[in-house]
Amino acid sequence: MTNLEKYNQAFIDNFNVSADKLSGLQYQGTELWDSVGHMTLVAALEDAFNIMMETDDIIDFSSYEKGKEILSTKYNVKF
């Protein structure tokens, strides 16, 4: 799986959304992306990329696009 596929899969599995809904998806933009869902998403991404996210990055992770930016600039995940 490519990094993008892994990244997308974490959203699809956690929020029960289809791939075509990911672009532009924001925190609280779908029912399951609430505060509890946010923490399970972060845990899934940490597992998938074998990283440990900083607090500031977890709370700054406000959308599908923002998460990609954080992972690529701070955790060296290449998309």
Partner: protein, 463 residues
């Protein structure tokens, strides 16, 4: 209720868009909103953590206008059902909510005061506040609370938390929720400042607000602290934040201990508390000096309250370490419940005594420990949910079913396949809980005991 002018120059409110409101200005706004209403009018206050919502709440309380606090984010059909049942004369609500319930008679910020078609009706003069029975099953049952209940509880909280005018509490809980409301009451009573926000604890703008406005305290339910732990909250640089309070269910003992330890290291306090909406809402707290030693305890009764363990006859068990029913007595115990508008005329049915439904014991030092529950209910993100009532709801879809659960997760066992999504969506709609709160599991048959009753213990063991 509140003597706002005593603190007229203090900041009562700072909002997350930078607005500062003094106690004098809050008093003027609150009076303006409540001006048209009389004490025989029931008001529904559809809440959010904004200044307009708060100013209306304070205005109605101070003019002794009976009001119900409801979540403005709830499904409008649920609110409409409550309106039809309780016939409020006025609604205080966000203007963008389209309820078509009447005519707007006052605009204030983003809120409107709506006059409904319902005329006023007799309401017990002691009744001041109605609260939902914590997110249960969409039931229209409300808790009836008097001014004495509210005021005595707010004063007790002020007392044991040592709240003074210098406190700056961030509203990390919604104001329609009894715990969130108690944070507001106890701070307004002492001229302290409320940092009003609806922003989620898990997102950056919340923490920017906390830092910029130097919040001194934060309140959370168990899952809030589970998240904060994951965020390594105790390592965040928040020198002004001195007090963390926790209520709304039992935080895992190890997590409580960890927060207590870290709080001690950082010169902060972590206060475990226990309550129910029916107690307006606080009943006990764990004094921080004892917290590490007794980290799994719910502490001691609040000032003015008494707690004891009773046997099955209701007689007090004096000896420590024996489990029994946890009973609370105090001036904050609610008047009773309402299930219809006629019930709003009822007087005090509890006479200061509340059977909590929790099983507990006390230790030799008089600290209480909850060990179980008498009724079948779980707490879902701080809200009580009755499993029997939930089961009745599921029966509308399929009759062969049984609900069991642990806090924050309810499992519904059914024998029919293919209903998972339908059951979950139905329960979300009825309870207002997130989809994540429910699991549906299919069995060949629902296990029963020899008596023919559902064997919940066996089901509980299987989850």
């Amino acid at each position: 209720m509140f003597d706002l002018l005593e603190y007229k120059d203090n900041d009562a409110v700072v909002t997350d868009d930078g607005r500062h409101v003094s106690y004098a200005a809050l008093n003027a706004d609150a009076e303006k909103i409540a001006e048209k209403l009389s004490s025989e009018c029931l008001v529904f206050c559809l809440c959010r953590n904004s200044y307009a919502s708060l100013a209306g709440y304070v205005g109605f309380l101070n003019k002794h206008i009976p009001l119900a606090l409801l979540d403005s984010a709830k499904d409008p059909s649920m609110i409409k059902r409550l309106i039809e049942r309780y016939n409020p004369s006025y609604l205080w609500m966000p203007a963008e909510m389209k309820l078509n319930a009447g005519e707007a008679v006052l605009d204030f910020d983003e809120y409107v005061l709506v006059r409904t078609a319902y005329s006023r009706f007799p309401i017990n003069p002691d009744l001041l506040l109605l609260l939902t029975t914590s997110g249960s099953t969409g039931s229209p049952k409300l808790v009836r609370i008097s001014e004495k209940n509210l005021l005595s509880n707010a004063k007790s909280i002020v007392d044991y938390l040592g709240i003074g005018s210098g406190e700056r509490a961030v509203t990390s809980l919604p104001m329609h929720y009894s715990y969130g409301m108690s944070v507001i009451n106890s701070h307004l009573l002492k001229g302290a400042t409320l940092l009003l926000t609806d922003k989620p604890v898990i997102q950056k703008p919340f923490w920017e607000f906390v830092r910029a406005e130097r919040a001194t305290s934060i309140a959370g339910v168990p899952y809030t602290y589970e998240m904060l732990r994951r965020l390594r909250f105790m390592d965040m640089n928040l020198p002004d934040l001195k007090t963390m309070t926790q209520a709304g269910g039992k935080l895992k003992a190890e997590i409580a201990k960890e927060f207590i330890q870290k709080a001690k290291e950082h010169g902060k306090k972590f206060i475990v508390m226990y309550g129910q909406t029916e107690a307006s809402p606080r009943m006990s707290y764990l004094p921080f000096d004892w917290a590490l030693e007794k980290y799994s305890s719910i502490g001691i009764p609040i000032p003015g309250g008494r707690m004891f363990i009773a046997d099955s006859n209701g007689t007090e068990i004096e000896n420590p370490l024996i489990d029994g029913d946890l009973v609370y007595e105090g001036p904050n115990v609610c008047m009773g419940y309402a299930e219809s508008k006629d019930d709003l005329m009822k007087g005090d049915e509890n006479h200061g005594r509340l059977l909590t439904g929790d099983i507990a014991h006390k230790d030799a030092d008089g600290f209480f420990y909850i060990t179980g529950r008498k009724k079948r209910f779980v707490k879902v993100w701080g809200n009580r949910c009755n499993l029997d009532a939930l089961e009745q709801l599921v029966k509308n879809i399929t009759t062969e079913c049984a609900c069991v659960g642990v806090d924050d997760k309810i499992t519904i066992f059914v024998t029919e396949t293919g209903l998972e999504t339908r059951i979950k969506e139905y329960l979300c709609d009825k309870t207002g809980f997130n989809l994540r709160a429910f699991d549906v599991s299919v069995l060949d048959r629902i296990p029963t005991k020899d008596s023919g009753k559902i064997d919940y213990q066996q089901l509980q063991r299987s989850i």
